[in-house]
């Protein structure tokens, strides 16, 4: 009985983590565009990005913490940090482990940003583009909700949001003022 509680917590926090990571990626791209969002000024876009990202880390930590107490998951502490070692679902659990490792690196470099080099921060921050698909693949492959239609619909929604952000990111006029800045270079 108590075991089911931990499993339920692991499932719900896992789903919440995916939603928050999706929002974090989209807000991160919005931050990079140097554009305000409707009703949200630039500095607030950045601050919301930071808060949502830290919140996603909290949910991920509760997610893995509850799995530690779930007797049937068969996961030990090492499995949360070293990928592809777990006794069951080694591949899909390993993807989640990789995503957690990346998320921890992102969080640590984010928190220590003022004390580390800008170069290192940006280098690690590119890892977010790997972290999100790993987390998504882990969600689609692991657990008991992976085949459920509501979960698939949620995943498709998340893919849509990140795909839109990526399309915006790759446009040549992605950044605010880019029109004026590039025109200035040509003339």
């Amino acid at each position: 009985m108590t075991n089911e509680v931990f499993w339920a917590i692991a499932r719900s926090t896992g789903v919440m983590s995916l939603l928050l990571l999706t929002a974090s990626v989209a807000l991160g791209v919005a931050t990079r565009s140097a554009r305000p969002l409707p009703f949200i000024p630039r500095f607030a876009v950045m601050q919301i990005h930071r808060s949502v990202s830290l919140l996603s880390l909290v949910f991920v930590l509760v997610h893995v913490g509850s799995l530690l107490f779930d007797r049937y998951s068969g996961l030990n502490l090492l499995d949360f940090f070293v990928p592809f070692m777990s006794s069951s679902d080694a591949l899909t659990n390993g993807l989640g482990t990789l995503a957690l490792d990346l998320l921890l690196a992102l969080a640590i470099t984010g928190i220590l940003r003022a004390r580390i080099s800008e170069r290192l921060f940006h280098l690690v921050h590119w890892g977010a583009y790997a972290c999100w698909p790993l987390a998504l693949a882990h969600g689609l492959g692991s657990g008991s909700d992976s085949g459920e239609s509501w979960f698939l619909a949620l995943c498709i929604g998340c893919i849509g949001v990140v795909a839109l952000a990526l399309v915006a990111r790759l446009r040549s006029r992605f950044m605010d003022y880019s029109h004026k800045r590039t025109r200035e270079v040509r003339s």
Binding site: A34, P41, R42, F43, M46, A114, E118, D176, Y177, R181
Partner: protein, 72 residues
């Protein structure tokens, strides 16, 4: 040496600034966006910050995505 009222200065490092525009929102009393979105002040690169704006200037410096601002 103690300056009068310990007024601080916000230094803009143009080598780092990418014109992301956060500082012009956080410190609109002192900075405005120029034609290309970069922070502009009539004072130029070193902007004098009165005591009542010190908190806002500190936040602008810490929130700059390129860490191009320094409050000294």
């Amino acid at each position: 040496m103690k300056t009068a009222l310990q007024e601080k200065t916000l230094h803009i490092n143009w080598g780092k600034c990418a014109g992301r525009g956060l500082c012009t929102e956080l410190l609109e009393e002192k900075l405005s966006a120029d034609e290309w979105g970069y922070p502009y002040s009539p004072e130029g690169t070193n902007v004098r910050i009165p005591a009542e704006l010190e908190k806002a200037a500190r936040q602008a410096a810490s929130d700059c995505p390129l860490r191009a601002l320094k409050l000294i």
